[in-house]
């Protein structure tokens, strides 16, 4: 009877593929036995029997069907927290770039506004997706080997030196997201702001806007690693040797990616010095021009050295905090 098939299907579709057929056959047998006991297959009997077996979803649950959630209760609080921070940071970044654009070009405010809405929408969708994917993976990964517990695994009462301040991790997340927004959505505003009569006139970008798209995978990678790092810190909550090792690995990878991007001349605005020299204050003959030119040309190496130093300090301090008694 069709109703029986539909019932069996409603149960088994919620079960892992490998068990479906077997359970379906057994269920069918059960339903036939129950019908027989009631005196044969009639519409009324079928309805009674299925009613007695109850809601197919509940029955599937009892069979231990697949997980019906993406992010479990263990991680949900952190998930919501990170999601809020990321979305707020995205909005702030895009809002700021809208304000700057409007100051530069007030007559185009409507265009900037629609641009902002579009950026906001696509950035929010991306942020939402990545945070969710990250936590869904963490939820599935974290499940394995979680049996029992040891007294030694009880989290110690937070030690002020080892505890990771929420604010720190949150600042890290906000900073990462802001960098992302500026590089991806507002790269034309990321540069030297040129004021004319006290009014913002134009921006000489640091980055090579035409070529930026070829670097986007790296930028996403770096920011993604940064976010992952901060989220792990938020979840673990205190410095442990394991966390310090994660931190080391993530820092090395992201430093490598940054080196690739920063040392590539294509990443930077090739006409930066030329555009600067158009300004009255920095004509090619002036002393200031020479200084800026030196900084601009030698700056990439130094920038990388500075970032490397900060990264090394961050990595070492992680280990120091982890081993501190």
């Amino acid at each position: 009877m069709e109703m029986i098939d539909r019932y069996v299907y409603a149960v088994t579709r919620r079960l892992p593929e490998s068990q479906r057929e077997d359970i379906a056959q057994e269920l069918r047998g059960l339903i036939e036995d129950m019908l027989e006991e009631r005196g044969g297959v009639t519409k009324q009997h079928v309805e009674d029997v299925l009613q007695e077996l109850g809601n197919p979803a509940d029955l599937a649950d009892k069979y231990g069907g697949t997980k019906r959630y993406l992010i479990g209760p263990n991680l949900f609080d952190t998930y919501m927290q990170v999601m809020k921070i990321v979305l707020i940071a995205l909005s702030i970044g895009i809002g700021v770039s809208f304000i700057i654009e409007t100051i530069i070009n007030p007559q185009d405010i409507l265009k900037h506004f629609t641009g902002m809405l579009i950026s906001l929408f696509s950035a929010a969708a991306q942020g939402f997706a990545w945070v969710t994917i990250g936590f869904a993976v963490a939820d599935r990964k974290g499940e394995t080997g979680k049996k029992g517990w040891k007294i030694s695994e009880l989290p110690p009462i937070p030690d002020h030196n080892k505890q990771i301040k929420r604010g720190e991790a949150i600042t890290g997340i906000v900073f990462s997201v802001l960098v992302l927004v500026f590089i991806i959505f507002s790269n034309h505003l990321f540069g030297v702001l040129v004021f004319d009569d006290g009014k913002l006139n134009k921006v000489i970008p640091f980055l090579n806007i035409e070529n930026i798209s070829q670097f986007l995978p790296y930028v996403y990678g770096i920011i993604g690693l940064g976010l992952l790092n901060e989220c792990i810190k938020l979840i673990i909550g205190k410095w442990t040797v394991k966390l310090a090792i994660y931190n080391l690995i993530l820092n090395i990878v992201s430093l490598g990616l940054m080196a690739i991007v920063i040392l590539n001349p294509e990443f930077w605005n090739p006409t930066f010095m030329h555009e600067l020299s158009q300004l009255d204050e920095l004509s090619p003959q002036s002393e200031g021009y020479e200084v800026v030119n030196k900084i601009w040309n030698g700056g990439r190496g130094s920038l990388l050295v500075i970032i490397a130093l900060v990264t090394i300090i961050d990595t070492i301090s992680g280990f120091v905090k982890a081993y501190k008694k």
Binding site: L30, G54, L59, Y63
Partner: protein, 114 residues
């Protein structure tokens, strides 16, 4: 009074849930299929809904306490379950523990009565 009944119902449900496993194991020295087990248990005063029993049988099989075999000779194919060696030892140990619980509970309840 309704409230009291409701609470009692819930507690009874919890109580039964724990005992069903032992009850099922106790009846599986001979192979049984799901529905024959339902009638067998109900004849002896233990009511189990098929919707609870069938998934339970499968779980016990997964834990290695039961073995199963499809019998396709009859009019309709049925899956028969039988205690495995592991299931037998588990059942024996559970029986010992169960008797201890019954004894202790008897003591507790008698003291309450007097």
């Amino acid at each position: 009074m309704n409230d009291v009944n409701e609470i009692v119902d819930k507690l009874l449900q919890e109580l039964r849930r724990g005992t069903i496993t032992i009850g099922v194991l106790s009846q599986l020295e001979e192979p049984q299929y799901g529905y024959s087990l339902v009638s067998l248990l109900s004849d002896k005063g233990i009511q189990v809904e098929p919707g609870t029993l069938y998934p339970l049988l499968r779980r016990l099989e997964k834990q290695g306490l039961l073995e199963s075999k499809w019998d396709t000779n009859e009019a309709r194919p049925r899956k028969y379950y039988l205690l495995s060696e592991k299931g037998k030892s588990v059942y024996e140990l559970l029986t010992v523990e169960w008797k201890k619980i019954v004894t202790s509970m008897d003591v507790l309840l008698k003291r309450e009565e007097t």
